[in-house]
Symmetry: D2
Subunit: 346 residues, 4 copies
């Protein structure tokens, strides 16, 4: 049994790690920290976990983590992770960080979008970006994994098969719809129930922090130095889920059935990425609570355009489920251990 610690466990991604690991046959949570709630019962914040955890949240003590954990998940806000990771890297702990602190190779990109200098830039190249469907071998050999953002995950799984064979011409327009848990547990006017329920609204139109992450990811896969996209996220009155509707202009050279083959080949061996049939559209409800990504395709503009639709649960494949998938790889377990769970519908 692998002992897991969750640092920053009171937010939604932390609670989701607690939920997923309660079902994991090879990993158990031995320590959960949350500065603000130190000494409070986990179940007081999350009654849904009451039957599984009777512990209290603790404050972070590096020594306790070193003593009690083999595997460390970090659910701290951006800027906080990089304060504790260097200390943990000196040990043999396996680390999956859910923040953005280790997602970029270049500290300048981090600084530009997250507004603060990076305090341990030397670790950026040691960290591996944790999208297993793209680079599971590198992940398996790493000590530190930067877990992707929710939007970049949905976008990358939807576009990588196209991008890798240079089928995309011009700008991709990405219209994303997100459930409100993606904005976290922090109170804001925008996520106050009466401001949001029974309506829909775009946000961060002038630039979302996940945009450089997805652009760099797609640039890397395409072999180009840049891969600009237009990305507009929307808040939808639902708890969980991301649906990305992506509008792609295609280069010549491939017909509809060849594109389907491309995707089916890319994903037929994947446990968590599931191609829908022609004519079917993904819906967020079908992946609710699961680590799955559903992808649908539709040809438009007489085959010169393609609509790619991808759906994930932002808290699972978009955060904590993918983090467990990465940790499984780090620990030499089968990648899908503890994660083969159907979505909760309706």
């Amino acid at each position: 049994m692998i002992s897991a610690g969750i640092i920053g466990a009171s937010g939604y991604t932390g609670a989701e790690l607690l939920r997923i690991l309660a079902q994991h046959p090879e990993m158990e949570v031995t320590l959960a920290t949350a500065r603000e709630y130190s000494g409070e019962r986990i179940s007081a914040l999350y009654p849904s976990l009451g039957e599984f955890y009777d512990d209290e949240f603790r404050t972070y003590e590096e020594n306790e983590v070193k003593t009690e954990c083999d595997a460390v998940f970090i659910g701290l806000p951006h800027g906080e992770s990089m304060k504790i990771v260097p200390g943990l890297m000196a040990t043999d702990k396996k680390i999956v960080d859910l923040s953005a602190d280790f997602r970029f190779d270049e500290p300048a990109v981090y600084e530009k979008w997250y507004g603060t200098p990076h305090s341990c830039p030397e670790l950026l190249r040691e960290a591996v970006y944790g999208l297993p469907e793209s680079n599971r071998k590198k992940i398996a050999g790493a000590q530190l994994v930067a877990n992707p953002g929710c939007y970049p995950t949905a976008v990358a799984l939807g576009l990588l098969p196209l991008v890798k064979v240079s089928l995309v011409a011009g700008t991709v327009f990405i219209d994303a719809k997100s459930g409100v848990s993606g904005a976290g547990r922090k109170l804001t006017l925008q996520t106050h129930f009466p401001q949001l329920a029974d309506g829909v609204v775009p946000y961060a139109v002038s630039g979302h922090r996940h945009q450089p992450e997805m652009e760099l990811l797609l640039a890397g896969a395409s072999g180009h130095s840049i891969f600009p996209v237009v990305f507009v996220p929307h808040l939808v009155p639902m708890n969980r889920g991301i649906l990305c509707t992506m509008y792609v202009t295609l280069n010549d050279g491939m017909g509809d059935s060849e594109i389907w083959d491309l995707y089916n080949d890319a994903y037929s061996a994947e446990a968590f990425v599931h191609m829908l049939k022609a004519g079917e559209c993904p819906q967020t409800k079908a992946v609710q609570g699961s680590n799955n990504c559903h992808i649908g395709l539709a040809a438009v503009l007489d085959g010169k355009g393609l609509i790619v639709m991808s759906a994930i649960d932002n808290l699972v494949k978009g955060a904590s489920g993918q983090a467990v998938q990465n940790m499984n790889l780090l620990c030499g377990l089968p990648e899908d251990t503890g994660l083969l769970v159907p979505g909760l519908f309706p």
Copy 2:
């Protein structure tokens, strides 16, 4: 006082006409028909109207309409309106038809998308398309107005200022999010609460009936023979509202502030179209229950791209409110009579 009849009054657009006209100072409903509910109290179907209507739904009798009504709103399904319009045109009744039956000049287009031949094609050229912000003079001189579809209204108000001056290069990608009342009162699995609530789903990706309507409308305004768009509607778990996020590639020749001027000039005198400030995004909740359209703009791709966002209430500006706006014009009333109502928020 103008006597108004509502033919096909049991659906959501019919009920919305009853609601709006209950507030109208110059028009009153004298007759409401609904074949399926004939003899039932209006308030049994719509308790919200109980304080305002104690009548029953009737069956349609042409003679009664001729005797009791000056103005006729038709809320029948597609294919049904064209059966009764010819008889009414022989009188001097003013008619606003909310179906698609008279929206196209060419019967072939109607037949292709609505699957049935047109039974009175000679009336197609007599009917005027009822988007007052675009052609209010023609409307004022007409007898029969074809009320626009909800999506085409939101799209046209968002794009017409650009299209008229030929600023659009290439294909416009339109990502639309709709409340569920847009699908009507008819029961379907897709609109069954547990299938839809707390999730989001695209639909009709391979072609929605409103697509030719918006393409023809934009083509007409642009002076081109065709104006193809890519249009993907989504169902969002909310009762009312349409939000269109439109991705436009721009021709050269205009900077950001000139584009804002273009829109502000187009709409400053309009009672129902409201430009938001730079940095603000429209939300459906802000127009809920009102005849307003809110429009926001955001430049992208270093000024080579533009995101146009428009929000309306699909049942008001997208249907019954616009129908009353049109009827006001037909009857020589100020266009905004009975319609200057703020949205219901939250």
Copy 3:
């Protein structure tokens, strides 16, 4: 035209006053204050009001109110109203206070439930409790009206006909379901979208501040010194609306049809209280956005028990609509001026 000021206009009840008064033919808003948002455009907080108000929120200045307003609505939090009311009472201004500050005769009751001593207890007996269906004559002669709480309004309208004729035996159990706007615009974890959406939860089970208000109201009507109830409110994932399901044990002496007669007699002349037919149940959606109260009855326990169900919109009949109804009375206008509006459905 009566000039109205809204003190504390940035909360939901303030915004609702702005919305309702935008439609009022005899009253117009000349001044809206909001300490926290002073200098900000009203439409920046409430885009739904953008077409109707281009003013900014101001800070409260007694002199400005005295100069610019005939009628004053106070939407300040509890404890704040009583600071400004004495100064305004020295003028001839008509005042409707939406807080609890003037709802009780006894300062001790206020102090017990609101946790602070009353600073102007001498005004408590001058203030009139503003439930027009119960005491419109007293209201019409007053200068200061204490607008009722949302729950007490729904409860009183549902129970008063029974209570007045002493038909109630034993304790009434009141199960209330409220939309989230009732909790106001202030951010709390409980009203954070992901904590609440797609679920239901009781709250304040050990005692809600509205309980003494409803008990005193019912005691007054019954002629008894006390009228204890058991009251459990619940938060329901909806924006607006209160539904009270009230479980009453009846004294002997009246059959089912006599009870219906009792209610029909009580309310047949009321503009805003509407008895449903036997077998019909009220729903919050049918009164959304309107000042109406819908009431349904069902006999149980072989006629020894009665279920009374009442539905209102908590922001309208439960707050701002009732405030306008009261102000109409204070100003000598017909009570329903500006308030005869159907509910928004769906």
Copy 4:
């Protein structure tokens, strides 16, 4: 591995059985029937199950069930189960029937409430009512279990500790709030999204079919011949969950802490029933997707009254989870096999 068949698998309880059994370590689904969808892929109806089932729904053939299944779950509508159960009882198959067909001892009660005579009344006494927390020993020795209704489960778990020691005086008033999946997958106007979303409504006030079931259950536990309750269910705009708020008048003889002891003693050894702490209220979201029941208590009326609040997921503990719990007992497995799963929150 136990082979399980699901007869009537296309409804929500059927799909929930498929979901739960996908995680069950000792049971696997070998056969799923659905007359209406015979030959269609399971994943076409339920994309959430696509990664787990690539079978098609079949039509019911008794021989196939006999050959392919050890355990049979029946998710057919009332009146349909009793047509196939006699044939299966002749074998050694273990049967859990989720309909009401075998819940009553007396065929007259069934006939009164379900409107049709019982076709195999001789089996009524052979069937065991499947509430394991109340009668797990009898269940373990049975061949046929009648799985309880969702409301009776929530009510019984909340009231049984009180009822068994005769603490209840007078009528219990039960106010139930249900998610919409409880009404099933069948299309109705009441469950059409726009009729229901963003509102709350009581229904079946004059008598719900689950009322006799809960009354008989409570009567049995109390030792009285009858145990009348007043029961009012409400539809809440959420997918899953039942919250029962129960208003109890107490006999003398027990203080607050003794009542807590009573409940804690009753449930401390139960895997799925969880007492909250004093001051905590159950919420449906905390049990979403899990087989758990959360119970909270609050004393009122100076200890003479008690509010009991219970929350379950109507599709899990209220239907399919409890069915698996029962089947585990029938098959000699630990009762909680495959069911120890935390709720999905948010």
